[in-house]
Symmetry: none
Subunit: 205 residues, 4 copies
């Protein structure tokens, strides 16, 4: 009895992270990233997720809400990733900066679907309201890069730079790399991007 109620409680508590919700979310992420919002039908999502289409509406009230979830929920993980490093920024070294850049490039290529959906939204600013959440995320990110540049200049491992320019340029660069190049298994390509990213910080290779 007790076990049962705990189990049930557990299931209920996990309502938001139920297996089916996750399947539907991943299906939406895949299809929205491949075909955009309008071309993706709820029927497609349901089939991809292996549920009936009525079930999609059990977990997401509307197609809009599913899309919104696909755009914004991945930001949480991205944000955590940034914040973790931000807390130990004072002791940053060039070596660590190179690692961070490596991670960024890798992440932008690995999280293909998540970023494609974001780019889809960013590319149609008149159409989507999610922009605000994405804008504030972009601001956080560029601010984070600016902080790094300031620290790097102070510590002497970065040349004299305009932190703001580096922040915006670096974000643009990562976004453009992800948008323009599809072959995320190509190590030579990603290594090239890592080198070029370093140059944006004024570091010759």
């Amino acid at each position: 009895m007790i076990d049962q109620s705990i189990m049930r409680g557990g299931i209920m508590a996990r309502a938001r992270s139920s297996k089916k919700r996750e399947d539907i979310f991943q299906a939406g992420l895949k299809l929205f990233s491949q075909h955009g919002y309008s071309k993706t039908t709820i029927k497609d999502v349901a089939e991809e997720a292996g549920v009936s289409f009525g079930t999609v509406f059990t977990y997401f009230e509307t197609k809009d809400q599913l899309f919104h979830a696909c755009v914004t929920e991945p930001l949480v993980e991205f944000r955590e990733h940034i914040m973790e490093i931000r807390n130990r920024l004072e002791t940053l070294t060039l070596q660590q900066l190179k690692q961070i850049i490596d991670q960024h490039v890798d992440m932008f290529f690995e999280k293909e679907r998540e970023i494609r959906v974001i780019q889809y939204v960013i590319g149609q600013p008149e159409r989507f309201q999610e922009m605000e959440e994405l804008d504030s995320f972009a601001n956080e990110f560029t601010q984070f890069i600016q902080d790094i540049v300031v620290i790097g200049m102070k510590k002497g491992f970065l040349p004299n730079s305009n932190p703001e320019e580096v922040g915006h340029g670096y974000l643009a660069f990562l976004m453009g790399a992800r948008l323009t190049y599809t072959d995320h298994k190509n190590v030579q390509l990603t290594n090239g991007f890592k080198n070029q990213a370093l140059r944006l910080f004024g570091i010759g290779v």
Copy 2:
């Protein structure tokens, strides 16, 4: 034979340069770039162009063809822009390279609609076939940049670089800048991008 091709040429030339065709094309470009393919309706295009609904079909057989035109026709102008410089590449100087970069950044920000439509297609490679034409254009462009880097290194005004990396990185950077930043009137922003673009060539500012 000759007559026919001339006639056809004549008809096409007239058709292609008709005022109404241009209006419809510009309307399509505007709306596709703002709202994507599916969300843009022929009715919207007709209204934006100031023509009647049926007239759109007089100039473009299907919605698909209008979209295809909006994606590929601007490439002609872009290509001309590149080729012109390519012919006098042997005498390139650092000063000229800086000018070229300036022009590139300016063009990517000014041709907002044309490039947004292209990015819309690039961002959904599984969905659109226009990819091939865009791919070959991208290859031309990166090849052009690679040639510049080789010349620059040979002439000594560019540091030792991997030309391919610079080519891909530079294209990615331009695309990302255009995708991520909307405020094309902001001179400070575009100047920043110009500086960062130089850094991709290994030129400190």
Copy 3:
């Protein structure tokens, strides 16, 4: 046999008088009378009744059956009301007739929900089968009125009339009053209707 019927009676008696069944019934009555059949959802009924969605189906197998119950069950009470008087019709006086009319008008205004649902069904005779039960009820009612008219003429307190015409006219009048006027608290209005109802019997006021 006897046991079984008793048991069945017992079960039905319990089922029919369960608190939850009554709550659901009243919720259905309210919502059907306000929004009609199709616009009322089982979910709405469940919420209004304060029970869970599935519980509605425990007491009424289908939405149809719930609706049917809402239309027909109130007839029982109406019928009792009529029959009670019918048994002592021989001794009817004008005074008593006036009381009966008072009661009828009051009842038609007080039992708003019950009668609205009935009117909803009557108003769509091609759509609902409940019509037969309602028809026979209407016949009973008009017959009842006809009997009154005959008695009244015989006893001399009603003028010469066509009993059938009075019966039909009186039912029509009550129904129309209920349909057309919403303000059942308005005493002036209901008093007016009582006076007019008397006129249908040929009694000046």
Copy 4:
């Protein structure tokens, strides 16, 4: 040329009264009056009207608008009918009043569909907004009846009455007759209603 433009002008001017619009309107009136709003589908209306369902949307933007038209447009004719008499009210005779009542009863039975739709709306006041238009129409009508009563009393062919009570009672009576009795071919029935209607004015038969 001139003829053509006139013809075209004629066609355009008649846009609201095009044959197809009228067919769709009549189909809607029929089906809404028989099955109510929700149970009537656009597909049904289209089939009944003999057009494709897309065409329904050419003439009525939404199902709501078609319904609204079916409820309110018939009021125009009703209103004209009333107003015509109203203008020559001063010379009213008992004979004419009887004629008016005859016409009212006949009209309420002949315009079955139009009035059923109105009753459907009136019966669900919480649900429909058309109520206001119907309320003001009902007010006009009862006011018209009150005027008649006042004239009749002044001229001496009507007994002392409360005009308001007669107005409301008479409208209720007509509505209820239409609601409750379906057999509009039954002359005996309608004659009965005409007699009863007279009694509401205090006129014995």
